[in-house]
């Protein structure tokens, strides 16, 4: 059952991810990206990381992508024009992609030769465990990240104020 669900949502994620690139209209791409986020959340759920799954949907699908859609709607961006591809892209695009995927698969096989995936076997994904981890062993990275985000917010405000003056 878990394996079937994994394959269903993995395929949805990959198809949506390809769709993000293939679609010519920004809104279609953005909605495809929401599909990727949603299916990733289901994959997290299958692995037993329920808090991460909820956070994935709330933060990425529910907040960040809504902002993306909002900005696209606000700018009223139209359909992109397909420009003629250069000869190099036409000739080397597909072989290079296949080669890249092959190399990634090879290294994953080399680095984790015997690691098995246990669906739902991971028990550290609850809210309590994540809270203990964030404020215990990972306190410093957590705080540094929050300061990084604060700097980004301040930078955005500074840029916006310059426009206003």
């Amino acid at each position: 059952m878990d394996v079937i669900l994994f394959f269903v949502f993995a395929i949805i994620a990959v198809v949506c991810a390809i769709n993000v690139v293939v679609q010519t209209h920004p809104i279609s791409s953005a909605i495809s990206l929401v599909g990727v986020m949603g299916s990733l959340a289901v994959l997290y759920l299958l692995l037993g990381a329920e808090f991460l799954a909820a956070a994935q949907v709330i933060v990425y699908a529910g907040a960040i992508m809504v902002l993306f859609v909002f900005v696209i709607m606000l700018l009223n961006a139209g359909t992109e024009k397909k420009e003629g591809k250069s000869l190099v892209v036409q000739l080397l695009g597909v072989p290079l992609l296949v080669a890249f995927l092959g190399i990634v698969a090879f290294f994953v096989q080399r680095v984790f030769p015997t690691t098995m995936v246990h669906f739902g076997g991971f028990t550290g994904g609850g809210v309590h465990e994540i809270g203990m981890a964030l404020f215990g062993p990972y306190l410093l990275p957590f705080e540094v990240t929050s300061i990084l985000i604060l700097i980004a917010i301040l930078g955005a405000i500074v840029l916006a104020r310059k426009e206003m003056d």
């Binding site: 808090f51 909820a54 949907v57 907040a63 859609v69 909002f70 609850g126």
Partner: protein, 399 residues
Amino acid sequence: MGDLTNQQFYFLISVVKVVVVFAVLMTVLAYLQWVERKVIAHIQVRPGPYRVGPHGLLQPLADVIKLVTKEDLIPPHVSKPFYILAPFLAITFSLLSISVIPFGPPIMVAGRETYMQLANVNIGVLFILAVSSMGVYGIALAGWSSNNKYSLLGGLRSCAQMISYELPLSLAIASPLLISNTLDLRKLVDSQNGSILHWNVLHMPFPQIFSFIIFLIAAFAETNRVPFDLPEAENELVAGFHTEYSSMKFASFFMAEYANMITVSCMATLLFLGGWVAPWPAEYGSSFVPVAIFAAAGVIALYHGSQAKLKMDKLTFPAFGVIFLIIAAIFVLPIVQTWLLPLFWFCAKVGAILFAFIWIRGTLPRFRYDQLMGFTWKFLFPVAMLNLLVTGLLVALRP
């Protein structure tokens, strides 16, 4: 029923629960609109729907037939895939969150224990937040795909509004969670067991009265209700994001709005008002409150029936009076009391909040758009933050 295995039993009971919850929810959705029209009409001193059935009681049925049989127009200038997708998204996400809401304590069915809840997830609160944060796509896409400036403006407004009010909403939800120390909706109610003083809204160390008010204000904005109904402000935007929709697609948005109202009211009840817990313990007579209420309603209906001027009322008022008296009699039976009483208190609290929704719609005028945004970012968000910090501090200091 003795020869059923556990698995068969749970499958069967789940199917029954899904059917019951769906049927009740759909009926409530239809009749909530009747209640809203009636209440607003009485606030404005007019009778409201009156023609279809006694006191307009069959009006929802007539509305449903009208909406289903109407021609389903798809305007030629719309972006078709998203135009069709949008109402589906809106209704799916608004109905989905009902599935994790518990309506009562565990009950015994055929010798086995089961909850009055469709599915229990131990991150129930986060699940509802996640699902409701996805609901904005329905409105945003409807506005955009209609290819109409009014719809687009409505969609944009609702996007901005829902993102902004989600922050105070989440912060207001976080504070009672600190006190209850769980994300499981059932355990949340268990932690408020006892009397009204144990409900999170009055629970020590820091009564969550402020976060309750913030939650309600943000919930009004999240469900696009008056005074925050700018996405569908009639005098500015025709009908806002659903201007181009007709028939069942329009009905989907309509149902989604009311379903969201119900979800938000259930959330407020579970988080702040103790869910199905009675306001005071049963040994002080709280189990006789529903009996008294229904008996009083029955007596009043009978009295009005005897005084009625209209011919129809002479029949309908006594009929409803007898029905109310029968319900009052059912509440006295000890067999059903174990599950009917919690259900009554849950419905009473949800109903009170839904009434407040309608009441405020009949009372307050609409905000201006800049006021709406300034209110949440400059007032509601800092207050919710402060409330969370104070709650956190007091919970940490709690012995």
